[in-house]
């Protein structure tokens, strides 16, 4: 028993070390790129850290971004447990946001205690619908869910752009905005003087639901079996297609919720491109966490603060916020390469080859 705990603990430490190493490596690459473009990397990173964690207000902004990433990451991880790769979080987020905005604007006369749950649930369902459509195509026609989900993102983004320039446009404004949602739809603020709203708690609650579902609920177990061995699941009589549909449906709901909370809690109105890459940032955080709920908490916060820090960077230096995309790409690639385990292996192999060659040479000489 002690042994098991010990190896498990070691494995956790190793994966955390590998994640931290990848992150440090990515920051180094980022620094080189910043330096190449002619800015002072140390100064930029200083601005980034200050923008992410300098003071209550900044930390609350980081937490807000983290909670959005947590939910879009859940959209990915929920499906990945079933062996699917769902890149559709971005589109689902837009759909959720659009639906919540519509409810918040057109049902504005309702009291807050009805309107808030109503618009949150609406956002969840809109995201679930968009994810469920993906699930339907996957389970019914067995289409490649990766490409389809990416295409759905582009379609959803265009759809929202249509809404805010056409039917949902605020006629009093020149810019393509939706009208502001009713004040009774706005989420209550947790900490005075910041924008930190109760959505953060909802995101945490979703993480707990995710953990509980896969740990203790039989259908969660079935989905895990489908993900790990499809043939085995079919042999055991599980409905593989139904499970695939369900994970994409619920995953879509989580991402829809992310969009909903972003509108109801932060933006208060819908506009084009309001999600600055939340979809793939969340997926990157989820990948770094490797399906672990606790890990997701940390990686979402890491990427969330990075993202909120990058906004300050864009504001105060010449470096655009896309720095985050670079760091995120390098992090995932280095994690995939498993440098902390593969590099020593490669060296060992090389040494082994060399020693074999040395022995052969010696024998040849003698």
């Amino acid at each position: 028993m002690v042994m098991i705990v010990n190896t498990r603990w070691k494995k956790n430490v190793a994966s955390i070390a590998s994640a931290l190493f990848s992150f440090a490596f990515a920051l180094l690459i980022g620094a080189i790129i910043i330096w190449v473009t002619g800015s002072d990397a140390l100064h930029v990173y200083g601005v980034l850290i200050k923008g992410a964690l300098g003071g209550v207000k900044k930390i609350s902004e980081s937490l807000l971004k983290s909670s959005t990433l947590l939910l879009t990451g859940l959209s990915f991880t929920f499906a990945s447990k079933c062996g699917l790769i769902n890149i559709g979080a971005e589109g689902q987020l837009y759909m959720g946001a659009a639906c919540s905005t519509a409810i918040g604007v057109y049902f504005g006369h309702l009291p807050a205690w009805i309107l808030i749950p109503f618009s949150i649930i609406g956002g969840f369902f809109a995201g679930a619908l968009w994810g469920g459509l993906l699930g339907f195509l996957k389970s019914r026609f067995n289409v490649n869910e990766i490409i389809t989900s990416i295409m759905f993102n582009y379609i959803a983004i265009q759809f929202v752009s249509y809404l805010v320039t056409g039917p949902m446009k605020d006629k009093t404004q020149t810019y393509p905005f939706s009208p502001k949602i009713s004040t009774s739809a706005m989420l209550p603020i947790l900490v005075k003087g910041t924008r930190l709203h109760i959505g953060v708690l909802i995101a945490l609650f979703c993480l707990v639901v995710f953990w509980f579902f896969y740990k203790y609920i039989p259908s969660g177990y079935r989905i895990r079996v489908v993900g790990q061995n499809r043939q085995c699941a079919e042999y055991a009589g599980f409905n593989v297609r139904k499970n695939m549909f369900i994970v994409l449906l619920i995953g879509g709901g989580f991402a829809g919720l992310a969009g909903s909370l972003e509108i109801l809690g932060v933006q208060h109105r819908l506009f084009e491109n309001f999600s600055v890459g939340y979809g793939f940032n969340g997926i990157a955080a989820a990948l770094l966490a490797g399906q672990s709920p606790v890990g997701m908490l940390f990686t979402s916060f890491l990427f969330g603060s990075l993202k909120s820090g990058a906004n300050s960077v864009q504001m105060f230096t010449n470096v655009p916020a896309e720095l985050v995309d670079i760091v995120q790409g390098v992090v995932i690639i280095t994690v995939l390469m498993k440098l902390t385990t593969t590099l020593p292996e490669l060296f060992r192999e090389r040494r082994k080859k060399k020693s074999v060659r040395d022995v052969a040479n010696k024998e040849a000489l003698s």
Partner: protein
């Protein structure tokens, strides 16, 4: 009936198809060898940016095209190195590479090119245009018989397809699976690089942030839609090129909201996947990392 409209669409189809054609054939080479190419999007962006940058410095389109193609090939080599040496998940690797390329090109674009649109640099265009199309368009058409010949009737083509189907058999006759895959990937990324460069120089006349807008993924779809045959891929690319041309046309005429016009290529991709998902044949060893047997 006004035929000018039809010939306009046709000419636009041919132009729009060319970058897609190069990327699709590049993807064909890579995927035939058994390596999944999710990174077409990233390679296109990278090469498009380099092409625009080099052209703006040298004021010569071909310098931009060639430098961008070669650098993309070199990046493709390192990409393949990571894929083969570290046995990474090829799908996630491709997606992360796309994120990296998007961030990198956007960052460089904003810091190297002047950003206010009024002073946006105008790049030189292709000047030599027999029958109204620039040379890369003709090269694109030349590519089809060449690829068919190379993959079906030459030794290296057969080797590439063999490592995609059954690498163990290839190794058992004493050939180097890893090396053959490197060759296929470098040919493939060179083609993708050329396509990306043409998208920037021949179609957009500049580099725009995220200008590929999913074309890398669409090219990937045309390969499976075209069932890994050059003619099939040509047909698929032409179909998507026509969709693209139609989309521009509809945007101009304003008969439907432009956002719905912009959705056309993406919706077409989904429909193509739904209609042909079950019938697609792909190399048996696609996306499976290969480890040399000891």
């Amino acid at each position: 009936m006004n035929w000018g409209w039809v010939t306009g669409i046709l000419a636009s189809t041919i132009r729009q198809s060319t970058p897609l054609l190069f990327v699709a054939f590049g993807t064909l080479f890579i995927q035939s060898s058994g390596i999944m190419n999710m990174a077409g999007e990233g390679f296109m962006l990278l090469s498009g940016f380099i092409a625009a940058y080099v052209t703006s410095i040298t004021q010569n389109v071909w310098a931009g095209m060639i430098v961008a193609t070669i650098i993309t090939g070199i990046v493709g080599f390192f990409y393949t190195f990571i894929v083969q040496r570290f046995h990474v998940d090829q799908i996630i690797m491709g997606l992360s590479f796309n994120s990296l390329a998007l961030g990198l090109t956007t960052l460089l674009n904003r810091s190297l090119f002047p950003q206010d649109t009024s002073s946006q640099q105008i790049l030189p265009e292709f000047t030599f245009k027999p029958l109204g199309y620039s040379i890369p368009v003709y090269l694109g058409f030349l590519l089809i018989p060449l690829t068919a010949l190379l993959l079906k009737h030459t030794r290296i083509g057969l080797k590439i397809r063999a490592v995609g189907e059954y690498p163990l058999a290839v190794e058992s006759v004493g050939l180097d699976v890893i090396r053959i895959r490197y060759i296929a990937c470098i040919i493939g990324t060179l083609l993708i690089g050329f396509g990306g460069a043409f998208l920037a120089l021949g179609i957009n006349n500049m580099f725009l942030d995220n200008m590929t807008g999913g074309r890398g993924y669409i090219a990937m779809t045309t390969v499976s839609f075209g069932k890994y045959t050059p003619i099939g891929i040509l047909a698929a690319v032409a179909l998507f090129g026509a969709g693209d041309a139609l989309q521009f046309r509809l945007q101009v005429t304003g008969s439907i909201p432009y956002q719905f016009a912009l959705m056309i290529p993406y919706a077409m991709t989904v429909i193509a996947l739904v209609l042909f998902a079950r019938k697609s044949r792909q190399p048996s060893s696609l996306a499976k990392p290969y480890r040399k047997s000891k």
